[in-house]
């Protein structure tokens, strides 16, 4: 069955078109909404076609990690909710959920999106922890790119709650924004046979040979990568995949409209 679907989709790709009529390098319509849930300090909803994810940022005052006493803490978590797909099950995070969370986390960490030094309240004692949770609402392909975009958008939307020095008052948000520096934009390029394409549907995700996620900063630096899939890639292919990712990343960056500007 999978082989038949694969042959069928390959034939379409050979014509330069996807099953749904898109060209190989074209995303479905993208939208980014900010401030979509009230109790988070920042939130976003990203749609890519019928794929929909929500991201929320919660802030808390914690002790720093012993090896970074002057830096705030960052955590990225992805919940592949069983509500969003017949393929997801309740229970501990799957490999897929952990991979998405870690790749999104790496992009944000390595692009130095947050100036973590500015999240320090008292060296070695108290720092702000920034906790990003990404929940899938409808899983219709390309969750990773959607999750990465949602995470950055939610950070842009985030405002600090009032902090008295001993406790955090979540009921009162201040006007103070997160110390943001640079945005990472993740684009995953898929390979099937000799064809490269982006923003897969669920069917395309079930039959690809290899994929490469590339997170780029807006000045074109690569800040994180992850290869997936059972097939191997040539150096030449990696080069072409990175080029395509860079092209698409600059397009996706245009959807980040939050008032807390990022480089």
């Amino acid at each position: 069955m999978n082989e038949l679907l694969k042959a069928h989709l390959s034939r379409w790709l050979g014509n330069g078109r996807r099953y749904d009529g898109r060209m190989l390098d074209v995303f479905r319509p993208v939208s980014v909404e900010l401030g979509v849930t009230k109790n988070a300090e920042g939130s976003s909803r990203v749609r890519i076609g019928d794929t929909e994810v929500m991201a929320g940022v919660k802030l808390a005052v914690e002790s720093p990690y012993p090896d970074t006493p002057k830096d705030g803490n960052l955590m990225v978590n992805v919940e592949l909710l069983p509500l969003s797909s017949p393929d997801f099950e309740a229970g501990p995070p799957s490999e897929e959920a952990i991979e998405i969370a870690r790749v999104v986390d790496r992009g944000i960490r390595e692009a130095k999106t947050l100036d973590t030094k500015k999240l320090c309240i008292q060296e070695g004692e108290k720092v702000w922890a920034v906790m990003i949770d990404i929940c899938t609402i409808n899983s219709d392909g390309n969750l990773l790119d959607a999750a990465a975009l949602a995470a950055v958008a939610a950070l842009q939307d985030t405002r600090f709650p009032e902090y008295t020095g001993t406790s955090v008052n979540y009921k009162k948000l201040t006007d103070k924004r997160l110390p943001l520096v640079r945005a990472p934009i993740s684009v995953t390029v898929f390979k099937l046979g000799d064809f490269l394409f982006v923003d897969p549907s669920v069917e395309e995700e079930s039959i690809f040979d290899a994929r490469l996620t590339v997170a780029l900063t807006r000045d074109g630096k690569i800040c994180a990568m992850q290869k997936g899939g059972s097939a191997s890639l040539s150096i030449d292919e990696v080069g072409r995949m990175v080029d395509l990712a860079a092209l698409k990343a600059s397009e996706l960056a245009g959807y980040l409209q939050g008032s807390n500007k990022l480089k």
Partner: protein, 254 residues
């Protein structure tokens, strides 16, 4: 003094504003959003589908499985740790028993119907909002049902018997508070969810339950309207409701 005027100016028998929408999650067989005030619930239904492991199957009837979950960023205050808690387990269980009486599970032996309730934003009354959303989602999935279920919390804040307590009322400190989540099967007037915590006298409880029944009948109208709107718009796009579609339940390749 005392609590004689509600914090948000509502009448004692008035719920917060309600919005309901069916068919919000395309991959699901049925889905709905139910919003009451600042509490928002999403529900998705998958099934009837095969149940594994096999020993859980019942050859006489299908099984209903509900999962209630708060998104990590949904609460006022600290992040809610994912992975479930004693509280979410119990609420999942009472959600199940609130919905069971309306389903004809004997229609699909050995199978399971999964109901997933997720809360992106909370301000008290989450289990009731979840049940309201789940009932719409079950109907949206096209399951044969005896009726919908409508749910709301009722109770008493100080001296006032009220419906649909918000968080400020639930945590009122200058007098007794009783919180009584109820679910009604509107056509029969029977209760399928009843819990209570706090302090209340017998007369007030009876009055609260009657107010709850009336509020649920208004919620029932909103639920039915959401379903009607869903199927009116589904008819426009070629009867395309995503349910029972081909592979992946995807009926949306326009």
């Amino acid at each position: 003094m005392g609590y004689d005027k509600r914090v948000d100016g509502r009448r004692p028998d008035e719920t917060r504003p309600i919005v309901a929408k069916a068919g919000i999650i395309k991959r699901a067989d049925g889905s709905a959003m139910f919003r009451i005030g600042d509490t928002v619930a999403y529900a998705a239904v998958y099934g009837p589908r095969d149940l594994f492991p096999k020993f859980l199957q019942d050859p006489q009837r299908g099984i209903l499985r509900c999962r209630y979950n708060m998104m990590p960023f949904s609460g006022a205050g600290d992040r809610v740790k994912p992975g479930g808690s004693r509280r979410s387990k119990e609420i999942s269980m009472v959600t199940e028993t609130a919905l069971l009486p309306i389903l004809n599970l004997e229609d699909f032996p050995n199978a399971v119907v999964d109901v997933f309730v997720e809360l992106p934003q909370t301000d008290a009354g989450t289990r009731c909002a979840g049940i309201c959303a789940a009932a719409i989602a079950l109907a949206d999935a096209g399951l044969s049902m005896k009726d919908l279920v409508a749910a709301v919390s009722v109770g008493k804040v100080d001296k006032m018997v009220v419906v649909d307590l918000n968080y400020a009322e639930e945590s009122y400190e200058n007098g007794d508070v009783a919180d009584v989540p109820v679910a009604f099967i509107p056509r029969t007037g029977q209760l399928s969810l009843l819990q209570m915590d706090g302090l209340i006298d017998k007369e007030s409880l009876k009055k609260a339950l009657e107010l709850g029944r009336q509020a649920c009948s208004r919620i029932y109208d909103v639920q039915k309207a959401a379903l009607k709107e869903r199927f009116a718009s589904a008819a426009l796009v070629n009867g395309n409701n995503g349910a029972h579609g081909p592979v992946n339940g995807k009926g949306d390749s326009e």
